[in-house]
Symmetry: C2
Subunit: 204 residues, 2 copies
C-alpha cells in the first residue's frame, strides 16, 4: 500500500515540525519548502515571489471588473497565481508518483485525491499558536504578542482562501480529512510518535 | 495520569463499537447505555423515556411563550429534560471520579472538562453511515435506504441540538475535541487499534 500523507495545518500549530518528524520515523520523502523552490525553478519566478503568491488570497488578484463586465486587460498577478497553481498541481502528481511521501500544505489532499492520500489536519487554539510562534521566532523578528496574533489570523485566512479557491472545499473542515489533531498545549514530538503509531495500524 | 476518554459520535459512524473495543484494550470502564439505566433508576422515569429525552432536541420542549412573555404554565417535558440532564451531570462526575473510563455521548467532553478528558469525535460520510446501519440492523427493522438516511440525519440533528443547548458549543466542531477520526470505509477494529496505540503515546 502506497503511503502518501498530506498535512494541512494552521500557522503555529506545529504541523511542519510534525511532518518532518513523521517523515524521519517513516523513512519517506518530505516536501514543504522544496515545492516552492522547484516551482520557482520551473516558472522562472523568484522563490520569494512564488511563496508570496501561494500564501496569498487568490481572489484579491481577480481580474478587474466593472459591474458585470470583466475588464479587457487581464490582471498579471492573477495569471501568475494560476500558472503557479498549475505547476504545483503537476509537481505534486509527479512527487506522489515517484515514491511514498509527506506533503505539507499546497492543497495536496485535494490535488492528490486520486492517489487516496491519508489526509491529516493539524490545529490548535490561539494561545498555543502564539506561544509556538514566540518560541520559534526567527532572528531579528521582534513582533509583539498582538502583532503575532494578527499575523496568525491573516496567514490562516489566506491559507483558507487559497485552499477554498482551488479546491472548492472548506479548509480545516473535518469531512475533507481522515484525522484532525489538536496540538493545543501538546508536545509535537509526542504527537508525532502517536500519529506514527496510528499510521502503522492504518497502513498495515 | 488519569485516563478519562470521551467519544462524541455521529450515528452510524461506529463510535459505540470503537468505544467498547478501546475500553477492552485499555482495561478501563465503559459507559454508554449504562448511563441511561442509572438515570432512569435515580429519577424513577422509564429507561425508554430517559433515552427518548436525551436523544431529542431540548428546544422542541421549551416552555410555551407568546410574544415576549413565557406562558405561566411550565412545560413538564422541558422540566424533565432539565432534571435528566442534571442527573446525568452528577452521574458523569461520579463515574470519572471513581476510575479511568470511556464515556460515549452524553455531553461528557463538556461535563467533564475539569477532569481534562481526552476528547474524541468520530464521524463518517453518509454512504458509510448508511452501510453500517444496514449491516447492524436489529431484527424486525426493515427500513429502506432512504428511510435510514432520514433517520441518521434526524438523530444527528437532535444530538447536535442537545449538545449545543447544554454546552453552548458546536457539536462535532474541531475546537471542542483533541482528535477527530473519519471512519468512512474504515474497519472499526483497525481504527480502535490505531487509536489505542495513539493513546499509549499520549498517556505516556
Amino acid at each position: 500500500m502506497k503511503r502518501i500523507i498530506t498535512i494541512g495545518r494552521e500557522f503555529g500549530s506545529g504541523g511542519r515540525e510534525l511532518g518532518r518528524r513523521l517523515s524521519e520515523k517513516l523513512h519517506i520523502a518530505y516536501y514543504d519548502q522544496e515545492i516552492i523552490t522547484e516551482i520557482a525553478k520551473r516558472t522562472k519566478m523568484s522563490e520569494e515571489y512564488v511563496r508570496q503568491i501561494t500564501e496569498s488570497n487568490p481572489t484579491a488578484s481577480f481580474p478587474i471588473h466593472i459591474r458585470h463586465t470583466f475588464y479587457s486587460v487581464p490582471n498579471p498577478v492573477f495569471q501568475q497565481c494560476i500558472t503557479i497553481y498549475s505547476e504545483q498541481h503537476k509537481l505534486l502528481k509527479e512527487l506522489a508518483e515517484k515514491s511514498d511521501c509527506i506533503i505539507v500544505g499546497r492543497c495536496a489532499d485535494y490535488i492528490l485525491q486520486d492517489s487516496n492520500p491519508f489526509r491529516i489536519f493539524v490545529y490548535a487554539d490561539a494561545e498555543s499558536k502564539i506561544k509556538r510562534c514566540i518560541e520559534r521566532k526567527t532572528e531579528g523578528e521582534n513582533l509583539t504578542e498582538s502583532q503575532i496574533k494578527k499575523k496568525i489570523t491573516e496567514i490562516d485566512r489566506n491559507r483558507a482562501k487559497y485552499y477554498e479557491f482551488f479546491s472548492d472545499q472548506k479548509w480545516g473542515s473535518k469531512e475533507n480529512y481522515d484525522l484532525l489533531v489538536n496540538t493545543s498545549n501538546a508536545d509535537i514530538k509526542k504527537v508525532a510518535e502517536a500519529i506514527y503509531d496510528y499510521l502503522q495500524d492504518i497502513f498495515k
